[in-house]
């Protein structure tokens, strides 16, 4: 199942998980210790994050370690930057218009 990346970051617990595993790969148990919630709930969040390709899993013996896909997180910022550029251009155009009106007024 493919999920929207924004669904992944829409939830506060998932954002907290992202922050945790950005620093180091962690097992679901180690992640769950940081939250006042059930291990099942954490597993569900991890599944959603996995389905968004925001986290990757690595097996070490019987343990699964989760870590963050940094590149995927960067995609969000890149995408948002397009919106920034629209506003930048728009306002640069407004500068020109204001400057023209000001000259005409004098």
């Amino acid at each position: 199942m493919r999920r929207d990346i924004f669904q992944a970051i829409a939830d506060p617990t998932r954002r907290a998980i992202i922050t945790l595993i950005a620093l180091q790969a962690m097992t679901p148990n180690a992640i769950a210790e940081n939250f006042n919630t059930t291990r099942q709930a954490i597993s569900k969040h991890l599944r959603i994050l996995t389905e968004c390709d925001l986290v990757k899993q690595a097996y070490q013996g019987r343990e699964i370690y989760y870590s963050l896909e940094i590149e995927k997180m960067k995609e969000i910022d890149k995408w948002l930057n397009q919106f920034r550029e629209i506003w930048e251009t728009r306002f640069n155009q407004l500068d020109q218009v204001l400057s023209t009106i000001k000259k005409q007024g004098k």
């Binding site: 929207d4 924004f6 970051i9 829409a10 506060p12 954002r15 969000i76 995408w79 948002l80 397009q82 919106f83 920034r84 550029e85 629209i86 506003w87 930048e88 251009t89 728009r90 306002f91 640069n92 155009q93 407004l94 500068d95 020109q96 218009v97 204001l98 400057s99 009106i101 000001k102």
Partner: protein, 166 residues
């Protein structure tokens, strides 16, 4: 134009809110007019090579602006902005939706709420815009309303323009 004027763009991903702050080196009444008068608004609202074409605009509380973003190929993307509240030369609020060319609201498309604040200090006018979306992914619709095409071209053209002005 002075180049040390503030431009600030931030996104709060937790609340799906976009914050845009910008300063302009002119008096507040002029900036206010640029945002609230159809003939000025259409001159800068659409990033070139797109154009903004306002069919009608009633800048009053409860009034509407019905306008299209027109692509260089002539493709039109219509929107309705309703002015939900206005405090003259200080603030106004907008509820923005996409529509067809007959002014029918497209309910499939995302809506957004805008809050625009204006203030002036020593001849510099600050505009602060807060845009609240239902989901952050809704922003994609705004980007898809064109804008991408010819964007690099626009930026290069602007660079040249500013160099000439210096």
């Amino acid at each position: 134009m002075s180049s040390n004027l503030l431009f600030d763009f931030t996104v709060d991903k937790t609340t799906n809110t976009v914050f845009v702050n910008r300063e302009f080196a002119v008096d507040l009444p002029l900036v206010w007019d640029a945002f609230t008068k159809q003939e000025i608004l259409d001159q800068w609202w659409a990033p070139k090579p797109w154009t903004s074409r306002t069919k009608f605009m009633d800048f009053s509380a409860g009034g509407r602006r019905f306008y299209a973003m027109v692509s260089p190929e002539g493709q039109e993307h219509w929107s309705i902005q309703e002015y939900t509240s206005i405090s003259a030369k200080t603030n106004f609020k907008i509820s923005s939706v996409f529509a067809d060319n007959d002014e029918n609201i497209n309910k499939e498309m995302p809506s957004s709420k805008w809050d625009l604040n204006f203030s002036e200090q020593n001849g510099t006018t600050s505009v602060s815009i807060i845009i609240k979306h239902n989901t952050l992914a809704d922003l994609e619709q705004h980007i898809q309303m064109g804008f991408k095409e010819g964007f690099t071209m626009t930026l290069n053209a602007l660079d040249k323009l500013f160099k000439n002005l210096k």
